[in-house]
């Protein structure tokens, strides 16, 4: 065996050859987020109950579509965890396509629910503002712990594209949170759903991008902190 040339090698490597435990596959790591998502859904249902038009919507439109939305949220979270692994990151175009599919799913679910049972925000004074407040705030509050856990898992890997990773994580957490919130909110008017429920998903996506960029500069060992 020839003697390797270690002249240019950083001495920190040779001084630190301790064993490390390899990370589990992204889908396995996402199970922690799935468990927290289920807990969040149960908490929302126990605290607020099920929407009054549940019978009119039927189980497929109520629970079925919520499961579809939450399942796609988990797909995005797995994609975020995968993007944090060197050599397995999605191209920006693929990441954009994943986000666009998420948007299409939200639009399809909104349209199908509206077709099945149209309902509006009550026309009483202050109702619109109250609905806007609660339907924006609650999914954001439910989604933030999911986003935090996802970003914690992301930064245990080596995210070389924090912006894309954060966007996928935020959108995924937003879909999961809103998937449980739509089992309570009885308003199916697309004007309400898209400007309020989807605004919460967009806010979480933005939070994901910003937090991932910040973490990539402050978390010890993160790729952007090499200098």
């Amino acid at each position: 065996m020839t003697t390797p040339d270690f002249a240019g090698l950083d001495p920190r490597i040779l001084d630190d050859l301790r064993p490390v435990r390899p990370l589990a596959r992204p889908w396995k790591r996402s199970l922690a987020v799935t468990a927290l998502g289920l807990l969040a859904a149960l908490t929302v249902t126990a605290r607020f109950g099920v929407r009054p038009d549940a019978v009119a919507l039927g189980p497929a439109m109520l629970w079925g579509l919520s499961v579809v939305q939450a399942a796609y949220g988990l797909v995005l979270i797995v994609a975020a965890l995968r993007t944090a692994i060197p050599g397995r990151a999605f191209a920006a175009r693929t990441g954009g396509a994943l986000l666009a599919i998420g948007l299409l799913i939200v639009l399809a679910i909104t349209y199908l629910t509206w077709l099945t049972h149209p309902s509006h925000v009550p026309a009483t004074s202050g109702a619109a503002a109250a609905y806007f407040r609660i339907c924006l705030r609650t999914p954001v509050l439910v989604g933030l712990p999911l986003l935090t856990l996802t970003l914690f898992l992301v930064f245990r890997a080596y995210p070389t594209r924090p912006g894309l990773t954060g966007a996928l994580a935020g959108f995924g957490a937003g879909l999961l949170a809103d998937g449980s919130w739509r089992t309570y909110c009885e308003v199916t008017d697309p004007a309400h759903v898209l400007t309020t429920h989807f605004a919460s998903v967009a806010l979480l996506t933005l939070a994901g991008i910003v937090l991932a960029q910040v973490f990539s500069r402050v978390v010890p060992g993160a790729p952007a902190r090499r200098r």
Binding site: M1, L9, D10, P86, T160, R226, R227
Partner: protein, 194 residues
């Protein structure tokens, strides 16, 4: 099993050994991975003088990220992705440094003087470089400075100067050759007239 598959299997085994903390596995891995990464970095940076530093930094980052390697996948794409990230970070760092240099132009008083050269020699060398640069056309000078001094990639320069990639590469290469010739001329004149 082809030779390539065997080599790939061997790299995976060494990477698993490296994750388990085996020094021998790391030494073999370094020996086999270094040429692959060197080639990859050279293709990206196109500047042999940068590659040694980038390679060292890549191995440091590989060490930090070694827990992210999954033995179900080949080693080179994983390692090359880290090398590419190191290269991009280096470009960004150089870019920022270049921007700072634009904001606060260095005067002679703040210029570092090489340890081996006197202040006077450094000033002479500086004026020679400036003179040689002034003999280049404006666009060639910009291409050379942006690529070799500020560390911008050809793609970035191409976007800024609105010049197509192959023409830009040719211009920068021609500019460097002329610069080298001019500096060698100066050197030979100095040797003739000490």
């Amino acid at each position: 099993m082809t030779y390539r598959d065997q080599a790939d299997e061997a790299l995976r085994a060494r990477m698993v050994g490296y994750q388990a903390g085996e020094r021998d596995a790391f030494e073999r891995l370094h020996e086999e991975l270094a040429p692959i990464l060197h080639r990859h970095l050279l293709r990206l940076a196109r500047d042999p003088s940068r590659v040694d530093d980038l390679l060292q930094e890549t191995f440091l980052q590989i060490h930090r990220a070694r827990h992210t390697y999954d033995p179900a996948f080949p080693v080179p794409p994983w390692a090359c992705a880290i090398a590419r990230h190191v290269f991009l970070m280096d470009c960004r760092y150089r870019h920022r440094r270049a921007d700072l240099a634009h904001q606060e132009p260095l005067d002679d008083a703040t210029l570092p003087v090489a340890a081996t050269a006197s202040h006077e020699e450094a000033l002479i060398a500086k004026s020679q470089v400036q003179h040689a640069l002034s003999r280049l056309s404006e666009s060639t000078r910009q291409s050379v400075l942006m690529h070799h001094l500020h560390g911008l990639t050809f793609r970035e320069i191409s976007r800024r100067l609105h010049i197509r990639g192959p023409a830009l590469r040719a211009r920068a290469s021609r500019g460097m050759a002329r610069l080298r010739e001019a500096l060698e001329d100066n050197e030979s004149h100095r040797d003739d007239n000490p």
